[in-house]
Amino acid sequence: MTLLQFKNVAVDMASTVSFSVEAGETLVLKVSSEEAKAEVIDMALGELIPAHGEILVHGQSLEASRPGNIGWIPAGGGLISNLKTWENITLPLWYHGRRQSLATEETVARWLLELELDKQEWEKFMASPTAHLKQGERKLAGLLRGLIQAPEVLVIDAGLFDEVETDRSYIWIKVLEKFVREADGRAVLVVASAATLLPWKIIE
């Protein structure tokens, strides 16, 4: 099942990009520059309309697809600055009323366990305002929010893995693979502008 498809989409004024993301895949799309990376992400999220080419979600145009089908984790986590970490992480669930408070806590706790964080560490981290978090904690919170949002295609800026300890990166990779495996019709697309050590199929 093809979840996301770029057909001859003009990127960065000079080149075109064509690829498709199938359900169950974890892919890395390598583009030529930071600008091209930002453009591809914006186009996948529907923020930017391509000058040329077509973007399809489930074979339909991007505009016709359900909002929230494509999730996004920016390099810095993309947290909302005036919310606490817990509020940030659970915002998509609270906003869309998809979970009761106990179920939300269970979902978060499960992913925290998968991410191998000990309870004391994450309890302190959850109560902190976003402004007090370290860069690595912001990235982690962004990753958690993406996992909890559970979109069909999770688009990740490869910068998320920059300056993250190797051990921790490895855990994140395992968790993302599990995220894709544990439900039908999910995929992860990492967009990179430079060489990456991520162990997934690379599209150039």
Binding site: E47, G68, G78, S81, N82, L91, P92, W94, Y95, G97
Partner: protein
Amino acid sequence: MTSSQLSSRRKPGRISRLVAGHLRLPWEVLCRLPALARWPVRQVMLKQLYFTGTESIGTIGVVGFLVGLIVITEINNLVGRNEVLTIQIMIWTIVRELGPLLSAIVIIGRSSSAFASELSSMQVNAEIKSLRSMAISPISYLIMPRVLAMTMASIALTFYFQVIAVGTGWIVTALRMDISFSNEIINFFEIISFREIAASLIKSAVFGMLVSVVSCYYGLRRKSAMTEVPQAVSQAVIRSLMAVFVADGIITVLIF
């Protein structure tokens, strides 16, 4: 075609876009009112109500007291011991004009700049894009609760300002003119009309809505760098002031 001809052709387009943008925002806010049923939206509204309303109480109280003191002293100097005329002028100045206007100015100073800078920073840091990627409408989650909160806070703060300013006026008049305080209160409620209370209420609601819409509009405008944030803040403050004075003129002419 000369450059001056070109610029003169562009101006109406820019102005009409600006007006359309300002008009579209309140319409979108109105359409998104059902989002208030969502808990996070109500939470944002309560936070903003606290920030714009509760945290302004001290400032509004001080300004209200001083305005009451100054205005009533000047009125007493002007009309002497004419109690009815003193109360009449107090209603004209404090209830009809200064109450809504000065409350709006305090709100602009505190909250308009804060709204514009917060939303601008969120825009630059891609937080608004992040919200959209979670299928959360920035209008429903960020703008609508701010507009509602500022409108409600403006009504409440105007009323509070008027109570403080008029109360100070009564005390000063009673002390300076040796008039019974209770008589003053009775006379005040006999003289003040429903139209004056309604006008004050309409003005405070309109000012609150205008200031919030203008501030949010400049906060949400597309920006690419943090250096554009101060510009957005200054534009939000200046345009909010302009909007309030223009609306005040229109409402005053229409009602009185």
